[in-house]
């Protein structure tokens, strides 16, 4: 789908001079120092870089979970800075699915209930909600675990629940911040296989990772260093199963 640009569709993500600083007492940490990035519809992008380089900070800004200190961000052509609190909530609900390294599931709710959560805030009626949650769990091969609570699931299963939650509203953009960071390598490959499949189904995917093997799944690898884009290159993805474990 690289021909999307030709038909005048705005890029899913476009940032210009994106900065984010954190006040740490007297000093400020400049986590991002001006990131320019364009990601088109249907792309599969890996963001790499050493620990502390600003990958998570960038993802949080792209996911509308955080507010930039400086710079501009257009999501599907719309300037995010102009969105109010409720519109931002709607964007997070409808347009973006976010997968966290630490899952961020509600500990006391079942898998199905966790997956339903975005639909509740999206105003989907209860019966349809349940149905779609079950479908999303089936998509990540967890239909048989829907009544389990997070602590009754393995790490990989938890991450799959959080992916199902990210997918359930059928967002155009799927963001994952080190989705395999807390998982063993076998489980990591299962998760990456899932992303590959989602990409083939037409989702735009951005994955943060600091592992080369994981990044090799993407079509494009963006490297961040010290809060700026250090390199941005196309990659010929290796099919799953050919990695050396």
């Amino acid at each position: 789908m690289p021909d999307a640009t030709a038909t005048n569709v705005p890029p899913v993500i476009r940032t210009r001079g994106l900065c984010r600083s954190f006040a740490m007492g007297a000093s400020t940490v400049r986590a991002l120092r001006g990131v320019d990035l364009v990601i088109e519809r249907g792309e599969y992008v890996a963001i790499m870089g050493p620990s502390g380089s600003g990958k998570s900070t960038l993802m949080n800004l792209i996911g509308c979970l955080d507010t930039p200190s400086e710079g501009e961000y257009w999501l599907n052509g719309q300037p995010v800075a102009t969105l109010g609190e409720e519109e931002l909530a709607r964007v997070r609900n409808h347009e973006i699915g976010f997968v966290f390294q630490t899952f961020n599931l509600l500990a006391r709710a079942s898998a199905a209930r966790n997956v339903e959560l975005p639909l509740i805030y999206g105003g989907v009626p209860p019966a349809e909600r349940r149905q779609r949650a079950i479908e999303a769990l089936a998509q990540v091969d967890l239909a048989d675990r829907m009544d389990h609570r997070p602590n009754q699931l393995s790490g990989g299963q938890r991450q799959r629940v959080s992916i199902a939650r990210a997918l359930v509203t059928r967002p155009a953009l799927l963001l994952a911040d080190e989705p395999t960071g807390n998982l063993d390598s076998k489980t990591s490959y299962e998760i990456m296989a899932l992303f590959d499949k989602l990409h083939r189904d037409g989702n735009t995917i951005v994955v943060v990772t600091h592992e080369r093997d994981i990044a090799e799944h993407a079509q494009r690898i963006v490297t961040i260093r010290d809060g700026v884009v250090a390199s941005d290159e196309q990659n010929v993805p290796r099919p799953v199963g050919t990695e050396t474990a």
Partner: protein, 406 residues
């Protein structure tokens, strides 16, 4: 998101966090139960005093050698200075107080009463002129009160309280039967309706006999109480002034000297009650205040402890699309539901406590209708204040900040 959905989320959250919810409830329950039980006791005491403690009706007052004394010094002074009141004082009032419709007198001693091997101890044996029983009327359960004829003849008859009947006539009709006081046989002619006990003192342990007989049995030594009924209840004060003037003259008091007797009115008893109990009540309120504070601290602690967890929860909810107002609505409903539940349990506990207090302690308890709503409002306010403000603060954060909460 609509109210139904928010309520569902709130109930889900309450249920999912059962232990925390219960601990929060505990605070509300402690607060409500203690404030309402205390209020019930206070209310019960007040009611009892204003309705039952004195028989004094409109326009009636009693002149006593020693009135209602609230401290030791007054008591010692009264014992030393106040002259005994006598039947002569009473007769003087009859003659010289035109605004008094009736004057009666009585004197009392404490003795045991016996009948056929049964006994009741420390009974108040009072000799009354018949008018006393009209001025300070008793509800009569059976039989009749003492007549003028019996007074004139010093007849050995008795009008007795319910305790005397319970103790001496467990299974039989007392009317016409004999009891003995200090060796003197008395025929029971009437029984007063039961009044119950107050602060552990029974109001029903008494025997009333004609004053003339009492004088024969116990002499003229005990000071008498003079009961006076004003002809016009609205002008009782004038009658009291008249009585005071007559008694002062009889007792040869100079103008500068204080009265050597005291006058008790129903209002006076109520006033005295109020001044006596103010201290008790403020202590009670203090205790209740402490338990409310404890309840509040329990709630606050639970809320504060759970704020981190809840902040993360709020972060998760916001990350998947919850608006600020969805969060606030959910937490508000949660707080109010918890308070309602805690309030309900607290009210039920207090009802139970009031029943138990009434049954097993000398304290009368009476459930005050205003207490549940008041306590409920207080506890809801605590719940909302300690629950909502952190939630609201968290809800206004960027999702990532809420998620980062440690």
């Amino acid at each position: 998101m609509n109210i139904v959905e928010s309520t569902r989320l709130a109930i889900e959250s309450i249920w999912a966090n059962r232990l925390r919810s219960f601990l929060t409830l505990l605070g509300v329950i402690i607060g409500i139960a203690s404030i309402i039980s205390t209020a019930a006791v206070i209310n019960g005491l007040n009611h009892y005093v204003s309705e039952k403690l004195s028989n004094l009706g409109q326009g009636v007052f009693v002149v006593k050698r020693i009135g209602i004394i609230t401290n030791r010094q007054d008591f010692l002074d009264a014992i030393r200075k106040n002259r005994r009141l006598t039947t002569a004082d009473g007769k003087a009032l009859v003659e010289r107080c035109p605004s008094a419709a009736a004057v009666a007198w009585q004197a009392a001693v404490t003795r045991d009463v016996v009948r056929e091997g049964l006994e009741i101890r420390d009974t108040s044996i009072s000799g009354v002129t018949p008018a006393v029983l009209q001025i300070e009327p008793f509800d009569v359960d059976a039989g009749r009160v003492i007549s003028q004829l019996e007074e004139d003849r010093a007849a050995p008859v008795a009008f007795v309280g319910a305790d005397v009947v319970e103790q001496l006539f467990p299974n039989s009709d007392p009317i016409g039967k004999r009891i003995r006081v200090s060796g003197q046989p008395l025929e029971v002619i009437g029984v007063a309706a039961k009044k119950g006990s107050f602060l552990g003192f029974s109001q029903d342990n008494f025997v009333k006999i004609p004053y003339s007989l009492h004088r024969k049995m116990f002499g003229s030594w005990p000071s008498v109480d003079l009961s006076v009924q004003a002809a016009d209840p609205a002008r009782m004060q004038d009658t009291m002034d008249e009585v005071r003037a007559v008694l002062r003259a009889r007792h040869h008091l100079r103008p500068a000297q204080p009265d050597d007797f005291s006058m008790v009115t129903a209002e006076g008893i109520n006033d005295l009650w109020r001044s006596m109990t103010q201290t008790i009540f403020s202590i009670a309120l203090f205790v209740v205040g402490i338990s409310l504070v404890v309840g509040g601290i329990v709630i606050m602690n639970i809320m504060l402890v759970s704020v981190v967890e809840r902040t993360r929860e709020i972060g998760v909810r916001k990350a998947v699309g919850a608006r600020q107002k969805d969060i606030v609505q959910q937490f508000l409903i949660e707080a109010v539901l918890l308070s309602c539940l805690g309030g309900l349990i607290g009210v039920l506990l207090a009802l139970g406590a009031a029943e138990l207090l009434g049954a097993y302690t000398p304290l009368p308890a009476r459930f005050p209708p205003w207490a549940p709503p008041t306590a409920f409002v207080i506890c809801t306010a605590i719940g909302v204040f300690f629950g909502i403000s952190p939630a609201k603060k968290a809800a206004s954060l960027d999702p990532i900040e809420a998620l980062r909460a440690e």
